[in-house]
Symmetry: C2
Subunit: 327 residues, 2 copies
């Protein structure tokens, strides 16, 4: 910057002003400075600026598994909105490990990042005690226990109920459910919606039609296999995510059943391969990319202290009817 100043024949203070778009600079002076910048290829040092301004213009996203397509699509939305707002995106993989969560969360304390987006369903331990950062944390998809963190997501219970309504509308009366892990908030929201959907269709929720998986394909296979061993197996199954639905279909196929003729199957999320699978999967489409973008927008507003920052954001979902349920 001192070089630019010399080249343009002004002080560094003026260079700084010109570069930050201050109105206190003559058009002519500004032009000289910009010429010097172009000539030298100079670029402001973000570390120095950040140190001075006490901000980093970076945000951190904590993800349990970057490799999971659901999360990576959310990341895409976050990145685009972040870039549009002049923020860079740091990504930390936590693998649901509290120690890693804390290590990454340390970047909030040190000022390395200005905000935090959580995709992993909970606050890192050290942030649970420390409420100082509450205003700079946003969650996506999965609500954070404690209710301190605003969430950007869909109405999971409503979506689950919509799936059940669809299945019931097809004439099914024994509708099973492959739920997620017990501890997961989404599991409960979707389970509640499943029950509500049954009641709305005049059916009685029965706990023996419910199995818990862990959102993986093998767990969906195991859950379906278990359901099939029932004296009166379900004729339709709503799975809490698409991976488990694919697992369920595999189990059905392995035991000689045809989908949806013998058993209808529905998933949740509309991951990339849901529409390509054989049979294509009936599922709930979540606007993942938009969820990411909205979360970043909300966080950005909070960081820059814009007035209408707002709280929770609920986005619309879509029930996508495909061959796994409607043959």
């Amino acid at each position: 910057m001192v070089d630019i100043a010399r080249l343009a024949g002004v002080s560094v203070a003026t260079v700084s002003r010109a570069l930050t778009g201050s109105p206190l600079v003559t058009a002519e002076t500004r032009e000289r400075i910009e010429a010097a910048v172009r000539q030298t290829g100079y670029a402001v040092n973000p570390l120095a600026r950040g140190l001075r301004r006490q901000e980093a213009r970076q945000i951190l996203v904590l993800v349990p598994d970057i490799g999971n397509p659901f999360f990576s699509e959310v990341l895409l939305g976050i990145e685009e909105e972040a870039a549009a707002r002049g923020f860079s995106m740091l990504v930390g993989n936590t693998a649901k490990d509290p120690a890693r969560e804390d290590r990454h969360a340390g970047q909030m304390l040190t000022g390395a990042v200005d905000g935090l987006i959580l995709l992993n369903g909970r606050l890192p331990p050290r942030l649970q005690r420390d409420r100082d950062f509450d205003g700079w944390i946003v969650a996506v998809s999965e609500a954070i226990p404690g209710g301190r963190v605003p969430v950007v997501g869909i109405d999971n219970a409503g979506a689950a109920a919509a799936v059940v309504a669809h299945l019931a509308g097809l004439g099914h009366r024994r509708i099973g459910h492959v739920a997620g892990p017990e501890s997961n908030i989404l599991t409960h929201q979707r389970l509640d919606g499943y029950r509500a959907g049954l009641r709305a269709a005049g059916l009685k929720p029965a706990s023996w039609l419910i199995r818990h998986g862990d959102f993986t394909i093998p767990s969906g296979e195991a859950a379906m296999t278990s359901l099939l061993s029932l004296p009166a197996p379900p004729t339709a199954v709503f799975c809490s995510n698409d991976e488990m639905a694919i697992g369920a279909i595999r189990a059905l196929r392995a035991s000689g059943h045809e989908v949806p003729r013998d058993v209808a199957v529905a998933g949740f999320d509309d991951i990339q391969f849901a529409g390509t699978y054989e049979p294509p999967l009936t599922t709930i489409r979540q606007p993942r990319r938009r969820m990411g973008a909205e979360a970043m927008a909300l966080l950005g507003r909070r960081i820059t202290g814009e007035p209408g920052a707002g709280g929770d954001v609920t986005l619309p979902f879509t029930l996508v009817e495909r061959r796994s349920s409607v043959g």
Copy 2:
């Protein structure tokens, strides 16, 4: 830090030395300082440290599409290795847009990041002219034209040849190929391998058995449809990635062919759903996570100036034989 100094009754310089692990500190003094740190929850400001040391302890990964499972798994490997080495990972989505590439690449020039990992097959324009950063750039999977950047990946030609050998070994004599985009380096490497594999099996490469797609499912469908319209369609098809292989299978199914009975299909990459698809896909498994980790390790060594930094890294691939080819 000044607080810590006061608390421990030493100067900030000593605190700094203690925190950076300098040997010039009494065990006893160090203990007092560490106690003060624990008590206050103090953490070093990375911006200040970075400004002083002229480093950021951050690296940037440029990805064409974060949402693509292939890339996101590589990211996972990069993140883990980066974290292990004390680096944070910034991710920039380029969508193959040179303007975005340049915007992100600017972080190299400003010193916001210490290194760059390329997953998008080319150098950002502004870095093509400027060779100053050559030592701090590493590519994964896809070689960068110009040969200035070390690549971490597999022997793509060898892998393609292995697939063809497998297909030929099954008795196929008309083996088609659905290649990637013309401009892509991987396309050419795999195309070369395909031809080499044919010759090794005593078959003659024929250009009419080759179609180009763009690595998407629909493009694979279109390519296969086109191949099927041939007077003598191939009895086996090697696709340059799994998405196109899935597209090919869809096209075959749509036109009443059964896989692999009528036509055998093989893909490349072994993405998550390759093994779950119906039929499960014969493909080449790339060690994506490890590729990411090795790339970060290489970059880390270069940044810290370790002696045996090395150049290109070629990792082993695996031919995974599944039902799409061996029925």
